[in-house]
Symmetry: C2
């Protein structure tokens, strides 16, 4: 195929080489001054022969996919995920609208966790939440109450909800209501507070509580009235546009926030509220590029919930972290969590902080990657590397690699630089185990101690053991049904 002329022509171009596996070849090229990107790659099923045999037993006869039952279940699951039509329906108070929410309940991010096992920032957020509720006056009272057994802690994901970072939701907090119009299901999320000293990063000082009170008393009712006046807002359209404007919907939401502001601003001005109050809302929104995150997250939750509980499907419906454990759920295994210790984040730190200050990976925000944006759409957001680290080339590679472990290319969310290819959508747990490629997630980093807040942002490698455990459980369930 390659004659001498072609080869010399090739070598006159600037070479870019991606090295997979052994380092030796990369080293040779690097010595020649040719840029080489290293891909971390693991052998299939982590070299676990028994698990590899299980995965192989689930293949179709031709070996180019999974056996009929799984293939059909996945077809249904991905069809539902792609058919989602998530819209902003409005705003309500958690106790009134979040299913199963109770008076003495606090919801949190990730899989279930007790106060005793909670990481620092989640404890900080719970402390802040209890002070905000008026149930405690200070840290000591809040800690006493948290350990008293009077407060029930449950995951947001058990209540059709998601929460960024600590993900703390108290009954009196205002929440976005996202409705998946195709299937009628709803998902919920608090409103975004901004970056830095904020509850979701474990801070609970008076400025945090004051802001939360302003959000409940001023911001949220105005947003509720704005959505009423405007009518529902199509989140799929907004995210699609934002991906054409350098966002990826998880840690870069500058475009989405901007599009949201310009869409609602005329309606905000017409509200029967003092002008200064309206101006303050617009200033808050302009100062908070992450405002849109708390809309992309429940958009993902509402989209994925409609694809849950399909017998035989290997679709990952949840990836979530509580700062202590990383957990996933599969469509076929319903409410069951597969967990492993939460990993540390490889990231960039704010001035004055370093990796030593970091809490482990935390938050439900990985629902974005699970839905097909966030880290999976990083190729659309090259400027995000200024926030989470890495290079634009690496961001493109993240997206490209995710096609290996997903079921489809998105029918709405696209990556312009990849020729408008649909984002990799619908994680197949069997493909993760088969290829050894784990989902690409970017994330914020909280201080490990309660009461401090955000210290950085970065990229995280999920523990593959959750996916292996999930794959095993899926195989066992299928085996049982066949018997």
């Amino acid at each position: 195929m390659a004659n001498g002329t072609n080869i010399s022509a090739l070598f006159s171009e600037k070479l870019q080489v991606i090295n997979i596996g052994l380092d030796g070849f990369a080293q040779t090229l690097q010595e020649l001054g040719i840029p080489v990107e290293m891909m971390d790659w693991r052998p299939p099923a982590g070299g676990d022969q028994e698990l590899m045999a299980i995965v192989d037993s689930l293949r179709s006869d031709t070996g180019d996919g999974w056996q009929e039952e799984i293939a059909q279940a996945n077809q249904e699951a991905i069809k539902r995920l792609l058919a989602a039509k998530p819209v902003i329906k409005g705003i309500g108070t958690a106790i009134d609208v979040v299913p199963g929410m109770k008076k003495n309940m606090i919801l949190h991010a990730g899989p279930p966790v007790t106060w005793e096992r909670m990481c620092g920032p989640m404890r900080g957020a719970v402390i802040g939440g209890l002070i905000y509720k008026g149930l405690a006056n200070d840290v000591r009272e809040a800690e006493a109450l948290a350990t008293s057994g009077e407060i029930t802690f449950e995951p947001c994901h058990h209540h059709a909800a998601v929460g960024p970072m600590a993900g703390v939701m108290t009954p009196s907090m205002p929440v976005w209501i996202i409705e998946n119009e195709t299937f009628g299901n709803r998902a919920y999320c608090t409103l975004n507070e901004g970056l830095g000293k904020v509850l979701r990063y474990g801070a609970y000082s008076s400025e945090v509580i004051d802001r939360l009170n302003w959000m409940r008393n001023s911001l949220a009712p105005m947003m509720a009235d704005v959505i009423k006046a405007h009518g529902v807002i199509d989140m799929k359209s907004l995210i699609t546009q934002a991906l054409q404007m350098g966002d990826e919907g998880h840690n870069r939401n500058r475009a989405g926030t901007s599009l949201f502001i310009r869409e609602i601003a005329p309606f905000l001005v017409r509200l029967d509220r003092p002008r200064e109050e309206i101006a303050k809302v617009l200033e808050f929104l302009n100062g908070n590029d992450h405002f849109f995150l708390n809309l992309t997250m429940p958009t993902g939750k509402a989209s994925l919930d409609a694809a849950a509980n399909i017998t035989g499907s290997s679709l990952v419906t949840v990836m979530a972290r509580n700062g202590t454990e990383f957990g996933i759920r599969l469509s076929s295994t319903g409410d069951k969590w597969f967990t492993a210790p939460a990993p540390m984040v490889d990231g960039l730190y704010l001035p004055g902080f370093s990796a030593e200050d970091a809490a482990p990976d935390i938050g439900d925000s990985s629902i974005t990657e699970t839905t097909g944006y966030g880290g999976f759409a990083m190729a659309a957001a090259p400027a995000i590397v200024q926030f989470v680290g890495g290079t634009p080339q690496r961001a493109i590679e993240f997206t490209q690699r995710m096609y290996e472990i997903t079921m489809a290319e998105n029918n709405a969310y696209q990556v312009p630089v990849l020729g408008f290819r649909g984002t990799p959508t619908g994680i197949d747990v069997l493909k993760v185990v088969d290829t050894g490629i784990v989902p690409a997630i970017n994330t914020g980093i909280a201080h490990k101690e309660p009461g401090i807040g955000m210290v950085g942002a970065g990229l995280v490698t999920p523990p593959i053991s959750c996916f292996r455990d999930g794959a095993r459980a899926l195989a066992e369930k299928i085996a049982k049904q066949s018997n």
Copy 2:
């Protein structure tokens, strides 16, 4: 360098080949299924031996640049261009603030042109301008007045101004005032009307005139008050951010417009104006993604004017089109225009229109490319291809090719996908002639008849003869000074 192992590794990667010149090699590769991009390339100086000898005579002794006088002049010119600090200073009425503007004067885009030689859309815009001024009641009256000799037509560029498409500016129109804070010079541009049936595309129906009146009576005074309340707005910072959000500052300004809206919205709300009037402005801005264009254009003009009139410099300070001729100016030759017939645009058309409806290339908006964004930054704006045609890969190549004919990489404007490389900035007319590579410009397309408006958008190849004529004039001037 290349041993067998390396080569087979290279061929295991997906190849992307750019073919320059002869088609034969590209054909071979295409037959092998390897994607090949063709670059249109012309022999140096278009095969003009005499001009090539002139260019060669201007080289330094070592041949790796231009001789001392030109090199030093260019160093000064590019230093000034990069040192520009353009800010939005405010809004004024053209007759009050635009230098040399007179009562019976109409400014237009591009090099000088008489009514007799004006293209259809420019005539349409002049007709609309005269109706808007109240000097004519209908098309017939306007045409009679335009041919009467009572109206003076002059290029915007003769008045420190720029205008998109027809670029018509009448004395009573409100204009943006952009100040280059480093050098104190100012530039001016009308406010953007939106797309479709608008004056700058040659439309003049009552909806066009009504909108212009609303802009003068409501939008402009409110914008003026907003800038007063806010203080100057840093355009370099806004454009830099917009380039990280998929804009290129010429035909894609969705991010810039969004950033502008969110920045001014709180100040708008606090104006002592009826709420409905404020809401209408916000609705207009939200409905007009090109609003930011009329800010990026005078930003370019204010930046480049400070680098004009430097003896010996081969910097292109103006590229502008009036729909009849394409013209450029050089720093060293000051006010002199080098012109050639305006080319046709290769583009995408709105429903119901085709290439047969198109007027030739028109507008001062190519000031964006001249400054280092617009077509030169298309790699930052892959989604623009949905508007102007082409592919994201081609958009990246446009930017990459422009490094061949420019003096510097921008110190502010960057392209994330190229590893945050500064945009190619400061066109060197000698490099254009030497390489045969002409500047990449994207543009809107007006209907060739007056009174209709926009029909599409696309990419245009400037006529190289302007650049050749400019290079000749530059060489002659240098030769004279040496004698």
